[in-house]
């Protein structure tokens, strides 16, 4: 366990010093700060627009950070040869991979906490209503699970594809899993869907991580909507996320274990 913690904390130390990540984070924070001013561009209720924009900025910024942070993580260690000094010590490859992943998730969590804090302050200063803040914070918590899943996907791909390919592969799967998964689900469940299309939809549903599970912003943005049995839903999708992360990490370990570095 000790090597995993050491590798994770080193990964965190590196991540919070990576200029590219800090720039993305700063841009995200800047958009969070100016979001109230952008509300005038929409004809909808000011609170609805503000909530939507704040959550949208956090989700988008976190997704970019998650991908940029993880796609270069393993290849950089190989290119700079730091991996050799680590793997020549009593560190198993799985410990290295899990440590790197946990470090990435920690970094991501830290950056998301920072953005969420800025979001909460911005919302409070604009609305002068602190009671709505805890409700608003629920979405970033779910986004964190979503981003941890995205990070696991990128770490899995990073064990066998180049960073640029990984960037598009992970990003593409995130967009597909976020936007089209509900469509595939509907296709799968509809009685009028032809059998071939149904099988294909089911297959996509099983293989593709369902990132849409964590897009819980609608009930938060629109007070009229709600998730039935919210607690159970959050628990269920979190377990789904952890399960999927586990599968991706095991897959990554199996590939990385035989990989020539």
């Amino acid at each position: 366990m000790r090597p995993i913690i050491s590798i994770a904390s080193t990964t965190l130390g590196e991540a919070i010093r990576r200029k590219v990540l800090l720039i993305i984070l700063l841009i995200g924070i800047l958009f969070l700060v100016i979001a109230p001013g952008l509300g005038v561009l929409s004809a909808r209720s000011e609170t609805t627009v503000l909530r939507g924009m704040l959550l949208g900025v956090i989700q988008l910024t976190s997704a970019v950070i998650a991908v940029v942070l993880t796609v270069y993580m393993i290849p950089n260690e190989i290119e700079r040869r730091t991996i050799y000094t680590i793997l020549s010590k009593p560190v198993q490859r799985w410990q290295f991979l899990v440590g790197k992943y946990l470090g990435a998730v920690l970094s991501l969590g830290l950056m998301m906490v920072l953005m969420t804090t800025v979001m909460a302050f911005t919302f409070y200063l604009q609305q002068r209503d602190f009671t709505a803040v805890p409700e608003l914070v629920k979405a970033p918590v779910m986004y964190f699970v979503q981003m941890s899943l995205l990070a696991a996907l990128a770490v899995f791909f990073s064990t066998f594809v180049a960073p640029l390919v990984n960037f598009f592969l992970s990003g593409g799967m995130y967009i597909l899993g976020s936007l089209f998964n509900p469509f595939f689900q509907t296709l799968d469940q509809s009685p009028t869907t032809p059998l071939g299309a149904k099988i294909a939809a089911k297959l996509v549903n099983v293989i593709l991580p369902n990132f849409a599970n964590y897009n819980v912003q609608n009930p938060i943005i629109n007070p009229g909507q709600s998730i039935a049995n919210e607690g159970a839903y959050y628990f269920q999708v979190s377990v789904y996320g952890l399960f999927y992360i586990g599968i991706l990490l095991v897959g990554g370990i199996l590939v990385f274990d035989r990989r020539e570095v």
């Binding site: 000790r2 090597p3 913690i5 050491s6 080193t10 130390g13 590196e14 010093r17 700079r80 040869r81 730091t82 050799y84 000094t85 680590i86 793997l87 020549s88 010590k89 009593p90 560190v91 198993q92 035989r258 020539e260 570095v261």
Partner: protein, 321 residues
């Protein structure tokens, strides 16, 4: 003496679309004894780093077998007893020297700050312990690398080009450290291009070329068989040539003749012959064989056709007797 490293027909091949399977290391039989400094030499792309990576268990051999400290390569128990400093190492630049040792120490479960301080002192970095790695010079980075490699008190150290790109002072410091490792009873496996450095510190060497071990043995044995240069005047070149000394070169020089021959050849016979010809002996200069000569000879021999490489008595100048 027990073997620190023993390989038998260790091979690493890569599949190539054009050339089929290419063996970058081919049937490597290596023997490194405990407590010695072993030089692993070869030109670029000879297979040195690939061999080290196989011995460390970072890459997997295609065939053959290898043992490090008596255990099969890749055995995790061995990793507690060995260390590795790669060529041009990169360490996390934001860390200080002390933090770096703490990080690598934690991989072994070592948390003793006094030990870290002692190691930094050993590599003469104790005054720079709080500087970040990005502030370290190349030589300092190499020294902190050596410090991290000593954390687990290793029995066997793998050093890949330990003095590459360093200035003469840093060279000297690293060399002294390596020699101190041997004094402490450690085995040191050095892959290097710095032949003069290797010649100074290594007990035994192996020369690898195109993945194949060409020579291996004690440095003193491999460098035996130096040459002697005898110059004389008043003796016809052809007369010396006619003596048929094996592996000798005879050539005319202004005012005389120069004979270059193996040191084990009969020097007295040549001196007697010069005297018999009423010639005058100008000089007898013994030339010790250097590692560089051996290396160039070994590596170049492989690229020269055998017939051309075969050494025979030759007359290089058409000096008429």
């Amino acid at each position: 003496m027990a073997a620190a490293i023993e390989t038998t027909k260790l091979t690493k091949g890569y599949k190539s679309r054009i050339h089929g399977t290419v063996n970058v290391v081919d049937k490597l039989d290596l023997h490194v004894e405990e407590g010695e400094i072993f030089g692993f030499l070869g030109p670029n792309g000879a297979g040195k780093t690939t061999t080290i990576k196989m011995l460390l268990g970072i890459i997997y051999p295609t065939s053959g077998e290898g043992y490090v400290l008596g255990k099969e390569i890749g055995d995790m128990d061995v990793h507690r007893l060995i260390s590795y400093v790669p060529e041009r190492p990169y360490y996390y630049e934001y860390m200080t020297g002390m933090e770096l040792l703490k990080f690598y120490g934690s991989l072994f479960g070592i948390t003793d700050v006094k030990k870290f301080e002692a190691l930094l002192e050993k590599v003469n970095l104790h005054r720079d312990a709080s500087k970040t790695i990005s502030q370290y010079s190349k030589g300092m980075q190499q020294r902190v690398g050596l410090a991290q490699s000593l954390l687990n008190d290793p029995k066997l150290l793998f050093l890949d080009e330990p003095t590459g790109g360093l200035d003469p002072i840093a060279h000297r410091e690293i060399r002294d450290l390596i020699l101190s490792f041997r004094d402490e009873g450690r085995t040191v496996f050095i892959s290097s291009h710095e032949l003069s450095e290797v010649e100074l510190i290594c007990d035994r060497v192996a020369i690898i070329n195109r993945g194949v071990i060409e020579r291996q043995g004690k440095l003193s044995d491999l460098l035996s068989g130096g040459r002697v240069e005898i110059s004389a005047e008043g003796v016809p070149t052809q007369f010396i040539s006619d003596m048929k000394i094996n592996d000798a070169n005879v050539r005319a020089i202004p005012g005389g003749v120069l004979l270059d021959m193996p040191e084990e050849a009969d020097i007295t016979a040549v001196i007697d012959a010069v005297r018999a010809q009423k010639g005058k002996l100008l000089s007898i200069v013994p030339r010790k064989k250097r590692l560089e000569d051996l290396f160039v000879e070994t590596v170049r021999d492989k690229s020269v056709a055998p017939a051309a490489a075969k050494k025979t008595l030759t007359v290089e100048s058409g000096d008429k007797p």
